[in-house]
């Protein structure tokens, strides 16, 4: 199935969870409302015609233009991108969850997405990585710790407004 057909099927079954889509992109994607993510993912994995049994990658992308000279076309936001594929039916799908950069616009409060680690085990480490580097809290994750940075690291390095620390345990930073 190609993405338009999958999108049609998703709309028929869980129409309320689909927030938007872009079928003209190089990798066509479907936007899912954060709250509906587990339901949509479970449907994608279990529906016999879809059977998305492999989650390849979860990436966090921060959209914030930090250069005052450039004007950005987008409102500041954060995207969590899921790349799925089915080894059974040989089709692929890209899911996106679009989030505010901070929960309730309070700086320091991480935005939240429900975990999919109970649907695909790949998500376990990948969600920890996105939490660590991009600063997204995955609700219901069994063990949401930092994975690449040390446990006492401050900040989320792949945020565009991240400031490199001046020192870390006596090691000079900037």
């Amino acid at each position: 199935m190609d993405t338009p057909a999958i999108l049609e099927k998703l709309k028929q079954n869980i129409g309320s969870g689909i927030a938007g889509s872009n079928l003209e992109a190089i990798d066509p994607w479907v936007e899912v409302a954060p709250g509906a993510l587990p339901e949509v993912c479970r449907f994608l994995r279990d529906e016999p015609e879809l059977r998305f049994n492999m989650l390849h990658c979860i990436s966090g992308v921060d959209y914030l233009q930090t250069d005052p000279k450039k004007k950005s076309e987008w409102e500041p936001h954060l995207e969590v991108v899921y790349h799925l594929s089915s080894l059974v039916h040989r089709h692929r799908l890209v899911l996106k969850v679009i989030l505010p950069r901070w929960k309730d616009n309070v700086e320091g409060q991480l935005p939240e997405v429900p975990t999919v680690s109970d649907i695909w085990r790949t998500a376990d480490w990948h969600e920890r990585e996105v939490y660590d580097l991009s600063g997204v809290r995955f609700q219901g994750h069994p063990d949401l710790r930092r994975i690449l940075c040390p446990e006492d690291w401050v900040g989320h390095p792949l945020r565009k407004d991240y400031q490199m620390p001046l020192e870390y345990h006596g090691i000079r930073g900037r």
Partner: protein, 401 residues
């Protein structure tokens, strides 16, 4: 030869001792890099394994969003430093997908040739160090001698032995030097008997079979759920190889090439030569199968390299223009996975229309392959942990990025 595996839980006669936390690594010879495992043990039986990674984190993705797309190529080398060419290829194809860029025929065949040679080199390290993990030193020396010859060939092509930055966005950096194809053919001819030697030394070695048969059995469902790819996935009997099954941007590199995907189907492996049969003691998806799949894949890579040399000879000159650093990338995003020796290596590029990617993401195959380790090690003996970790063939540079 009688092989009987006793469940460690039963072998310990159900005697429970105090639980002990044993720390392995980050400096441990059999963890293949700076991997730290914390084992919760009851006597000799491992109850739980908690992997700690990140010791080699070099902020590759952060660096990627501060450099022009082509300037990130040298950083991809340093991810899987045992297969730098395949890493270059992954990023180059991803940016080409974003640009909609075709490479010349000659560059395409050079990419296949070089990438397959690097796959041989990577699998040789995997096989050699696996022997080392299990206590046999000789095969390691044979493997590294052969790998050395491949590195010599690479040195003649691009000047580097480990971090090549040879495959680039838009083609490859240079055409082959004069006489290189003959040297390559000479290497392949001398290498083929070594495969038989390695099979004699390792594959049918009674100790190796004892140490690996039935250890760390990974079911196909679990492999798929954990996102395990490459030889680890195929050793569980899943017939899946991106060189054949990938999306068009990945498979177009291999259009016209004939090779077998090495995975056990209907109880047998596709074989080009009478290699040692599968011993009766092994179970599909165990450490032995993961080792065996790599050994058979090497033969396919030799076959592919030969075909690539033929195609190369027939192709018109011209290996492509490397993407200029001032060239702006089109707005949009592209994600592509390619079949690297250790599994599916994915890259994502997000562009806002400038020369520098807005986001450069690397999906590491070893990262996913390692994540299954705590599942595989549950209930095994401490001595089996290096056997399991070694069979996954991880490279920490790629996991930590």
């Amino acid at each position: 030869m009688v092989l009987e595996r006793v469940d460690p839980e039963l072998a310990e006669f159900d005697v429970h001792t105090d639980e002990l936390l044993v720390n392995m690594g980050p400096q441990h010879p059999s963890t293949h890099g700076v991997l730290r495992l914390v084992l919760r043990t009851d006597g000799e039986v491992v109850k739980e394994v908690i992997p700690h990674i990140g010791y080699l984190h070099r902020c590759a993705e952060k660096i990627g969003e501060n450099l022009a797309a082509r300037q990130w190529i040298p950083y991809t080398d340093r991810m899987d430093y045992l297969a730098g060419m395949n890493m270059n290829l992954g990023w180059a194809l991803t940016v080409e997908k974003l640009l909609g860029l075709e490479v010349p025929e000659r560059a395409r065949h050079l990419r296949v040739l070089i990438a397959e040679l690097n796959r041989i080199a990577s699998h040789l390290v995997a096989a050699g160090t696996y022997g080392l993990d299990l206590g046999s030193f000789t095969p390691f020396v044979h493997c590294f001698r052969e790998r050395e010859k491949i590195l010599d060939l690479f040195e003649r092509v691009c000047g580097a032995r480990l971090t090549y930055s040879y495959i680039t966005i838009g083609g490859v950096m240079a055409d082959l030097p004069r006489g290189w194809l003959d040297e390559c053919e000479a290497f392949l001819v001398s290498f083929e008997p070594v495969i038989d030697d390695l099979h004699a030394l390792l594959t049918s070695n009674a100790i190796l079979i004892h140490r690996t048969a039935g250890i760390g059995v990974l079911s196909p469902e679990m492999a798929v759920s954990y996102g395990c790819t490459g030889p680890v996935l195929r050793a569980s009997g899943v017939n899946w190889d991106l060189r054949r099954d990938g999306e068009p941007w990945c498979t177009r590199t291999y259009v016209g090439y004939k090779f077998e995907v090495i995975a056990e189907t209907d109880g047998r492996y596709p074989q080009d030569a009478p290699y040692p049969p599968v011993p009766s003691a092994v179970v599909l998806g165990d450490c032995w199968h993961r080792f065996y799949v790599r050994m058979l894949e090497v033969v396919q890579s030799v076959k592919l390299a030969r075909q690539a040399m033929d195609y190369y000879r027939k192709s018109p000159p011209g290996v492509g223009e490397p993407l200029r650093l001032v060239q702006k990338l089109p707005k949009g995003e592209a994600y592509l996975e390619t079949e690297a020796p250790k599994g599916q290596m994915g890259f994502m590029v997000v562009s806002d229309g400038t020369t520098v990617p807005w986001r450069a993401r690397a999906r590491s195959s070893s990262f996913c392959n390692l994540s299954v380790v705590s599942e595989l090690c549950r209930g095994c003996l401490i001595a089996d942990v290096p056997a399991i970790v070694g069979s996954l063939d991880i490279v920490l540079g790629e996991i930590d990025r």
